[in-house]
């Protein structure tokens, strides 16, 4: 759908084919100009956030960075399409630690992730206790992001079951990496979601960036596509080009509509890039991989959807906003050592044995 380079990885690989007929906008692309500019705006917003957080890490204002630059073309459409809110009639999201594009698209501001990476007392997700991009937003049904990879595939079984039991409108959305699909939890999600008569409304996605820290896909997998693992379970599967935001938006929309209508699961694999490596663990340096944002901008320029000037203005505005959030967070208090026992149990019931 995009340029020649992207087209080689496009939806032709999908087992579930797109049903959407091109509703060609004035640009000749299958989305309207408004949709295209919104997606672009959110992708830039997400990228500027991550690059600001990398700077925060590199200047020593954070202990560790891990995040999602390179996954914007998939993550942003996912966040735009999620039924955001609290309660059973909204989607439950069990995300991995490269999920900032999805949350930006859902409306996350800049100060929240920056307080998190800078471990401030004001960090509403963890209170200064966890790494960057380890969010929790109960008001949006966003489950806590964990460092152990793959566990979300098991935990999501429960939210999907509760939704099914109540015949609720919401579905359960799972994201994770290709390396994490080697964990048993991924198999658990396939087994539990596909039981005859007990199918679960789950969108099981794998963002395949071809890496698990330093271990390449080919060292970890024999299957051509991770999503093929859904086939023996008679699950609907899809392989999409997650570097193409238009394809992602359309295909995610179709698969989510299928799940909402049927209550049955889908396994979707999206090929994505990993632009800054795994995390602080391998240096946080820019890699020579396809940049979905660059490619999308080339397309939007070619189709006269945006101008160079407008793109620069969007980037400058978000860059300033991100910098301002860093400055603000920098002046905020760090968590007090005395808070370590807070929330050991619900309502901070004592958990310190010295006080029993």
């Amino acid at each position: 759908m995009l340029g020649k380079k992207l087209a080689t990885q496009s939806a032709s690989q999908s087992r579930s084919k797109s049903k959407t007929k091109s509703k060609s906008g004035s640009s000749g692309l299958p989305l309207s100009k408004q949709e295209l500019t919104k997606i672009h705006d959110l992708m830039v917003k997400a990228r500027e956030l991550e690059e600001r957080m990398i700077k925060i890490y590199k200047v020593g204002e954070a202990y560790f960075w891990i995040g999602g630059p390179g996954e914007e073309a998939f993550g942003v459409p996912l966040g735009m399409l999620a039924n955001k809110g609290q309660g059973f009639d909204h989607d439950w999201l069990h995300l991995h630690y490269r999920c900032s594009p999805t949350l930006i698209a859902m409306g996350m501001d800049y100060i929240t992730p920056i307080r998190l990476i800078m471990n401030k007392a004001t960090d509403k997700c963890t209170g200064g206790r966890n790494f960057s991009n380890h969010y929790s937003f109960p008001e949006w049904n966003v489950a806590p992001v964990t460092s152990p990879i793959g566990v979300q595939y098991s935990i999501g079984i429960g939210t999907a079951w509760a939704q099914k039991r109540r015949k609720a409108k919401g579905i359960t959305i799972l994201t994770g990496g290709d390396a994490g699909s080697a964990e048993g939890d991924f198999a658990s999600s396939l087994i539990w979601a596909s039981r005859k008569g007990n199918e679960l409304p789950m969108l099981i996605t794998v963002q395949n960036n071809k890496w698990g820290i330093s271990t390449h896909y080919d060292e970890q997998h024999g299957e051509a596509h991770v999503s093929d693992r859904g086939i023996p379970f008679k699950m609907r599967t899809a392989v999409i080009n997650g570097n193409d935001p238009i394809e992602s938006y359309i295909r995610l929309g179709e698969e989510m509509a299928y799940i909402r209508k049927t209550g049955k699961p889908v396994v979707m694999e999206a090929s994505v890039s990993r632009l800054y490596g795994h995390s602080s663990a391998d240096g946080v340096n820019r890699r020579d991989e396809l940049d979905c944002l660059d490619e999308f901008e080339k397309l939007l320029l070619k189709k006269d959807v945006l101008t160079e000037k407008k793109i620069k203005q969007i980037k400058d505005d978000y860059s300033k906003e991100a910098q301002a959030a860093q400055v603000k967070a920098r002046g905020e208090l760090s968590p007090e050592a005395s808070t370590i026992w807070d929330n050991f149990y619900v309502n901070s019931e004592n958990g310190d044995w010295r006080e029993f």
């Binding site: 966890n130 359960t172 087994i191 929330n343 029993f356």
Partner: protein
């Protein structure tokens, strides 16, 4: 009197009817079996899961995350070990999110030896469980306490691990559960599934009442001043027997404490008793190296050193890779009445 399996079943029924329990699930938990120890027979919200412990624990966490209350079961604690990182996450979820996400879930699992269960049906888990901060861990020794602790576990907004001694599942108590008919046969006819075809069978539940055993509170099962014996689960019954024998044979009064909760635990009860007796032994069947009782013994030595008339003792299971099937092997691996008695006498004979 109800046995422990029946009391757990009645507690779960009370939970379904009055406390909002939406799901009770695990391997063979649903009809027709109702659990390998029959603790979930006849209930309305039970269902069978795949034989996938990680899926069971993960599902419980997800259900709890939505605010629905569930009770999940791992069929034997011997098979819980491949879920250990999920258990860590369940324990730390409220803490790591600074109170954003709570997991009101109960995970129950049979523990311990005593049923000739061989290598993989004899494990204990309470010492591992005590190293899962954020969980509450309970382990009853009587049907009435099982009922009361299960209701507390269901009501608790935190993840609670309910450890049930395998060897106690058919043991009857000495106290009626509120609402339980006094005739055992009547109770059995009401809530035990028949042998054979169960397709049309439905339990007839007695009109049960609420009975709460507060998590973190122990119980003195024998009062005395000669020495303090601290235990939980099935070994409470053995310690009671030792106390009764020593009273009868030597007119020695032991104080036996049924801890009932592993974490949080009733230190005030232990401390008060040790101050009275000056001697303490901790008895359980989990393996002896880094045993939970070592923490209690350490604390007794550290905080009550000048109150003690003898060195604190821990009597626990041998640090073996497993429990051998033959009775000679099992009995030599975990504390038996005779060994407890010998150790108590030795404790009493120690001259300060």
């Amino acid at each position: 009197m109800a046995n422990m399996a029946q009391s757990i079943r009645m507690a779960l029924h009370y939970g379904e009817k009055h406390l909002g329990v939406k799901d009770i699930f695990g391997q063979d938990v649903g009809a027709p079996m109702g659990g390998v120890f029959t603790a979930t027979q006849g209930l309305e919200t039970t269902w069978n899961t795949p034989l996938d412990e990680r899926g069971i624990v993960g599902a419980a966490m997800g259900i709890a995350m939505t605010g629905d209350i569930c009770v999940a079961e791992i069929q034997f604690c011997d098979y819980i070990f491949n879920t250990i990182d999920l258990l860590k996450i369940a324990g730390n979820t409220n803490w790591v999110t600074n109170g954003n996400a709570t997991l009101p879930m109960v995970l129950m699992t049979p523990v311990g030896a005593g049923i000739r269960g061989s290598v993989y049906h004899s494990h204990s888990f309470e010492s591992f469980a005590s190293r899962l901060p954020g969980w509450k861990v309970v382990m009853p020794s009587t049907p009435l306490d099982a009922y009361g602790l299960m209701l507390s576990a269901i009501k608790d907004p935190n993840p609670v691990m309910f450890l049930k001694s395998k060897a106690l599942m058919r043991v009857r108590g000495e106290e009626l559960i509120p609402g339980e008919p006094s005739d055992e046969k009547e109770l059995k006819a009401m809530i035990d599934a028949p042998v054979g075809d169960r397709s049309n069978w439905k339990a007839k539940w007695p009109k049960l009442e609420e009975h709460i055993v507060e998590i973190g509170k122990g119980k003195i099962t024998r009062s005395g001043s000669a020495a303090t014996v601290v235990s939980y689960g099935r070994h409470v019954l053995m310690c009671n027997q030792v106390a009764d024998e020593l009273k009868k044979e030597k007119n020695i009064d032991l104080e036996v404490i049924d801890l009932r909760s592993i974490y949080p635990y009733d230190w005030e009860m232990i401390k008060t008793s040790i101050k009275k007796t000056g001697r303490v032994i901790f008895v359980n069947e989990d393996t002896e190296v880094t045993n939970f009782a070592e923490h209690l013994s350490y604390r007794a030595a550290r905080e009550l050193f000048y109150e003690l008339m003898a060195r604190p003792k821990v009597l626990a299971g041998k640090n073996l890779p497993g429990i051998g099937l033959h009775a000679n092997l099992e009995d030599a691996s975990v504390p038996q009445v005779s060994e407890i008695k010998e150790e108590v006498i030795s404790l009493l004979q120690e001259i300060p």
